[in-house]
């Protein structure tokens, strides 16, 4: 008598026969086929547009060049398109600041309050908004169009072999693509990778894809220091090539780190998987652009307000509280300076990265605030002025290059680290997810600095 669940299971085991699933699935397929034959009329000549497109977009000859070209075009349009609105926003904020200052004076507010609120908080926030918003509002709609068109799975299809030979999961290409938007969101998207080992690889290396908060830094430094010597027309192109180089370097580091980890701490062979290539679909143009722009703008504004504003405040305070002759900020930067110099950076830059832990967006504004004697940012509404601040502090193209490298390779932002902990539930791996990239960032910048200096290039 079957009177317990154990017995039921035992009994059913005795009834089982091998590969009954094949029979079940086949029967289901036959049923659907018969239903579809009755009720669906297919066109007589099947011209499959997606197949034709794939023959180009994933062809042996054109697959990779088209992929690079798409990346290049998206970056180029971002750089080219963001210039004017960025300056316009900066001007607008500048005017706003004048009014605020006038208002503070009219009310007879003490100068420390003006410094705190206007020079610290307001400038920090407005800088982030005017530098971050335009490129993001251009980059992400384009990305969303490609995503809705159906290009991402093709990237995974093209690059699968690279991931496989580095021991990673083929779907890591998709989670990396999410990383361009936000590494924290990308960490959550690694749930599409079933195998824990490969999911961990995807989590640990996602940071090597520059996110939202780092694009503007990369673009800014590339255009100020790498493209400066070129004619105006080609400057955007040079900037694009430099930024693309950084992105490609990030991909190479991802593959290399995955490879090393899958030979050491995360040993194993890549699991099997299937990749569906959905048909290309024409995106709803305006709708997609509108949504991506609004969503990203809100995202950036939210970050600007919850992270950049307090950071601006704190930086101002650190820069204005004196211990002895110097401000706290100066003490910190002096302490960090020797190490920073060894990496081809300086104490201010390291301090900016440390204080910028909560969000990559604020690294640049903190750095600028640090550089200014008053402890507040100047109103930087044109590029020449901006570059002058850097050059006055001893910057060369090497400093810019190494800051870009450090930005690409260093520890993930606070939100991402927290997300990694939530997703892995492991203190060890969370710490490693910050330590591994940081070690790489230090090594790479150190070597770059010494090679460049050794060859006498700067």
């Amino acid at each position: 008598m079957v009177d317990s669940i154990e017995k039921l299971i035992q009994y059913s085991q005795s009834l089982r026969k091998p590969n009954i699933r094949d029979e079940i699935v086949t029967q289901i397929y036959q049923t659907t086929r018969s239903i579809c034959q009755d009720s669906v009329i297919y066109p007589k000549t099947e011209t499959n547009r997606s197949e034709k497109l794939d023959q180009i977009l994933t062809s042996p000859i054109w697959g990779f060049p088209i992929m690079f070209a798409m990346l290049g075009v998206v970056i180029y349009l971002t750089i080219w398109g963001a210039n004017v609105p960025s300056e316009a926003l900066a001007n607008l904020f500048g005017i706003g600041e004048n009014y605020l200052t006038a208002a503070f004076q009219a009310l007879g507010a003490p100068s420390w309050l003006h410094g705190l609120l206007v020079l610290g908080l307001y400038r920090g926030t407005s800088w982030v908004v005017s530098v971050m918003l335009p490129p993001m509002a251009i980059f992400f709609p384009m990305f969303a169009l490609l995503e809705n068109f159906g290009y991402l799975p093709r990237v995974a299809f093209n690059m699968d072999r690279l991931f496989k030979s580095s021991g990673a999961h083929g779907k890591q290409a998709l989670t990396m693509a999410m990383g361009f938007g936000c590494n924290a969101a990308a960490i959550i998207s690694t749930r599409i990778i079933e195998s824990p080992r490969e999911r961990m690889l995807a989590i640990l290396t996602n940071n090597f894809v520059p996110c939202n908060g780092r694009w503007p830094t990369l673009i800014l430094l590339a255009s100020l220091f790498m493209a400066a010597g070129f004619a105006t027309g080609v400057q955007s192109i040079v900037t694009t090539l430099v930024v693309m180089g950084i992105v490609l370097l990030g991909i190479m580091v991802t593959l290399l780190v995955s490879w090393i980890l899958s030979k050491t701490a995360l040993k194993g062979i890549p699991t099997r998987y299937t990749l569906e290539l959905p048909p290309y679909r024409q995106p709803k143009f305006l709708n997609t652009i509108f949504r991506a722009t609004v969503d990203k703008s809100l995202f950036v504004l939210k970050r600007a307000i919850i992270v950049a504003a307090p950071a601006g405040l704190i930086t101002w305070i650190l820069a204005n509280i004196m211990i002895g002759e110097q401000s706290i900020l100066q003490h910190i930067t002096l302490f960090l300076d020797p190490f920073g110099k060894a990496l081809g950076l300086d104490g201010f830059i390291l301090m900016a990265f440390i204080l910028g832990l909560p969000a990559n967006e604020i690294v640049m504004p903190i750095l600028l605030m640090g550089y200014l004697a008053t402890g507040a940012m100047t109103e930087v509404d044109n590029m020449v002025e901006l570059k002058k601040i850097f050059v006055d502090h001893g910057w060369t193209w090497l400093t810019a290059l190494n800051m870009m490298l450090f930005s690409l390779l260093h520890y993930p932002c606070g939100t991402t680290i927290f997300t990694i902990y939530k997703e892995t539930k492991s203190v060890k791996w969370t710490i490693l997810s910050a330590v591994i990239p940081t070690a790489i960032a230090i090594t790479v910048t150190f070597i770059t600095a010494h090679v460049v200096r050794g060859l006498g290039l700067v």
């Binding site: 289901i28 009329i41 068109f149 959905p278």
Partner: protein
């Protein structure tokens, strides 16, 4: 005013989140690649005085628990028992998509089938007779293009009728080989005896025969915790018609 819970199931990339967004006004991530929805998302809307909670399940190729996603979706339908399950199908590859619909029909009869992406299907000249499909499947079938809002009104109306009992589905039962059917018939009385009729007994019998280890394990756990109380009616066990 009553409250209903509705689950959205379907193959990956068929437009479940698009439909979810359309109905709830939320902004789940959508895009043309399989596997975007990884977190359980809920949203709500109301229609004709009733309120609904909609659950956006991850897209799955089947509900046989070959992967964690499939288990999540399956467990939701079996154990959480939504008041209705909307199965979203891709009109351009109905053959593969409908398999999942048939699997859901083995689990619950409170089902609405949405044939989404109709605009894409029309573009390539596919014609679908949804009435015929509905009569074969025994549940409502609606053609739609969620992204353009096409078919949403009809879906809402049908959903209202289904949850208020104005439609009573007569879902198709898939006939397996004589051998399997005999074994199913042998198991069903024992299952009913143990856990009553509150779960789809024919479907459980199939999983037991299939040796779906993870499900059997879960069944055991839930049973020993006393969660599967005898709870008659609601899922009349379905026999061949």
């Amino acid at each position: 005013m009553r409250h209903y819970r509705i689950a959205l199931a379907g193959n990956p990339n068929t437009g479940k989140s698009t439909l979810f967004n359309e109905l709830t006004g939320l902004r789940q991530h959508t895009g043309n690649w399989p596997g975007k929805t990884v977190l359980h998302a809920e949203g709500s809307f109301s229609y004709q005085g009733n309120s609904y909670t909609l659950i956006d399940l991850p897209g799955t190729y089947s509900l046989f628990s070959n992967s964690a996603d499939e288990e999540v979706a399956r467990d939701y339908i079996i154990f959480e028992k939504p008041d209705a399950t909307i199965v979203v199908l891709d009109a351009t590859s109905l053959e593969r998509n409908m398999n999942l619909a048939l699997q859901v029909l083995e689990m619950t009869e409170q089902v609405i089938i949405c044939i989404n992406l109709m605009d894409e299907a029309r573009k390539i000249g596919i014609q679908i007779d949804e009435k015929k499909i509905a009569s074969r499947l025994g549940v409502p079938v609606i053609k739609m293009a969620a992204r353009n809002g096409e078919g949403i009104d009809l879906l809402l109306k049908t959903l209202h009728q289904l949850v208020t009992g104005k439609i009573s589905p007569q879902p198709l039962t898939i006939q397996y080989s004589k051998e399997i059917e005999e074994k199913i018939d042998e198991l069903i009385p024992h299952i009913q005896n143990l856990i009553g009729n509150s779960y789809p007994t024919r479907w459980i019998a199939l999983r037991l025969l299939d040796g779906d280890e993870s499900f059997v394990q879960l069944l055991k756990e839930k049973y020993s915790k006393g969660k599967l109380q005898f709870n008659p009616i609601r899922f009349p066990s379905k026999h061949a018609n």
